[in-house]
């Protein structure tokens, strides 16, 4: 079960994500989170409480981050858990989203 909490901090919008990012997270991410981030210049996805991301979840992350980057927003992923990072590396997510997202 995926959920998130938004918190503004020093002009950046932090998205504290929690739970599995898979197909079931789709509606929440696309219909609520994406619109909620439309006005933000700088977005940080905090994945500390995310321990599982499957291939559908990767698709959702790509959609979300690329959508924001296309509008010239600054996006980064933080506190990615090691087991999730392994999946990101396998799929070469840094190559897809840009290395700056992982800094």
């Amino acid at each position: 079960m995926f959920s998130y909490r938004l918190q503004e901090q020093d002009g950046r919008m932090i998205v504290y994500c929690e739970g599995d990012i898979d197909i079931d997270a789709g509606d929440l991410i696309e219909e609520q989170l994406e619109p909620a981030l439309q006005e933000q210049q700088q977005v940080v996805l905090n994945l500390e409480q995310v321990h599982f991301v499957d291939s559908s979840g990767i698709g959702l992350l790509i959609g979300l981050v690329q959508g924001l980057k296309e509008q010239e927003r600054i996006v980064s992923l933080e506190h990615v858990q090691p087991e999730v990072m392994e999946v990101f590396e396998l799929l070469q997510l840094d190559e897809i989203l840009g290395k700056d997202v992982f800094s």
């Binding site: 696309e30 291939s55 559908s56 698709g59 959702l60 790509i62 392994e86 999946v87 396998l90 799929l91």
Partner: protein, 377 residues
């Protein structure tokens, strides 16, 4: 038109209920004066399942009857698989029976001597629920049949094992949701070269299967025409973006494509975000065919560097999709290491039993699983 079965040992009561229902417009009313007569009507014989489902939609069942009472009769009917959803309304004058009656599987009750409108309201709502349930069940059965057919169709496009001098290829293909987003393909070229491809479409179920089948239909011409890894993967990426580039959710697949030169004992590959293939040779550390680029369908311009290496025969190359190594709560790297260790201990078995043994490694059917093993000598 709904059919109602009234079961009551009192003929007076039966006639009374029949009259009310008939007046309200229910035409198909059947009567039974004991539990046994009701069973006969439903086709339930002693210790035997009915051969054909009787078309009754609702049973009105008296509780106090000689021989077998209504509660026992209700249990028997509910224990018959095809009648699990048949609504049963108890007829009773005594609230003391309620707990046991509901425990036996009764859906509702009608108090004897109560007003007619109450009886009719309860009958009507039970029948409405039954109708909705029937509609849903029919739909589910139709979808299931459809999926079974689709499953066979998808399996029918998979290659049979390949056995040629110097090369044998075997595979296992396990569909998690009847149809799968995994797909494999191979082709022998006339100059003793062989192209082998394994793909895994993101997500699973019908939408992933639609993508994998549409890609499958392009493979004869793409692999046949381009042959070389960078060209094959580049063309797949182009086609994938043409076909599915406009969908709202990112549609992509991971893939590994090898071109094996059996004469020169060389292979070249591109691994597009796919778990590493394993090159296994006895007494030699396994070689991982690691990722070289991003998955197919995501970027318009993907890097297409090819890795080339030579191999010593006999050896084996195993390709698999992440369903084989992914387990909830465990790191995928752990699954890959475990697979590597296990696969590396199986040099003595034939290629066919090798894939059989690997299949047993993960019984997790949450995801599709596909294994392709190439034996070279």
């Amino acid at each position: 038109m709904s059919s109602i079965l009234i079961v009551d040992d009192s003929r007076l009561n039966v006639a009374y209920l029949q009259n009310i229902l008939h007046t309200a417009g229910y035409e198909d009313i059947r009567l039974a004066y004991s539990a046994l007569e009701a069973f006969r009507e439903l086709g339930i014989e002693a210790e035997q399942h009915p051969k054909k489902r009787c078309d009754i939609d609702l049973v009105l069942l008296d509780i106090v009857m000689p021989d077998m009472d209504g509660i026992e009769a209700c249990r028997t009917i509910k224990n018959t698989e095809m009648y699990q959803d048949l609504p049963i309304i108890f007829l009773t004058a005594d609230r003391a029976h309620f707990e046991e009656a509901f425990g036996a599987g009764g859906m509702d009750f009608i108090e004897k001597g109560g007003p007619d409108y109450e009886l009719l309201a309860r009958v009507q709502s039970a029948l409405r629920l039954k109708k909705e349930m029937d509609t849903r069940k029919n739909w589910e059965e139709k979808v299931q049949k459809d999926l079974q057919l689709a499953k066979h169709l998808q399996r029918s496009v998979l290659h049979a094992p390949l056995e040629e001098p110097g090369i044998r290829i075997h595979s296992r293909y396990m569909q998690s949701a009847e149809v799968s987003g995994d797909m494999f393909y191979w082709k022998m070229f006339s100059n003793r070269k062989c192209g082998v491809l394994l793909i895994d479409v993101s997500g699973h179920g019908i939408s992933a299967a639609l993508i994998s089948m549409s890609i499958r239909s392009l493979l004869d011409s793409i692999v046949g025409l381009y042959r070389k890894p960078a060209e094959v993967c580049g063309e797949l990426n182009r086609q994938m973006r043409l076909l599915f580039g406009k969908t709202r959710r990112s549609a992509y697949f991971t893939a590994i494509y090898l071109l094996i030169d059996l004469e020169q004992r060389e292979l070249e590959y591109v691994n597009a975000g796919h778990p590493p293939g394993l090159l296994l040779k006895q007494n030699t550390a396994p070689v991982k065919l690691k990722g070289t680029t991003v998955p197919i369908g995501i970027k318009p311009d993907m890097k297409l560097d090819t890795v080339k290496l030579s191999y010593d025969a006999p050896c084996r190359i195993v390709l698999y999709t992440d369903g084989l190594v992914e387990r909830p709560g465990l790191s995928i790297q752990f699954g890959i290491d475990r697979l590597e260790e296990y696969a590396d201990s199986l040099h003595y078995v034939s290629n066919e039993s090798f894939v059989d043994k690997l299949e047993r490694l993960n019984r997790n059917r949450e995801d599709d699983i596909c294994i392709v093993s190439i034996e070279l000598d």
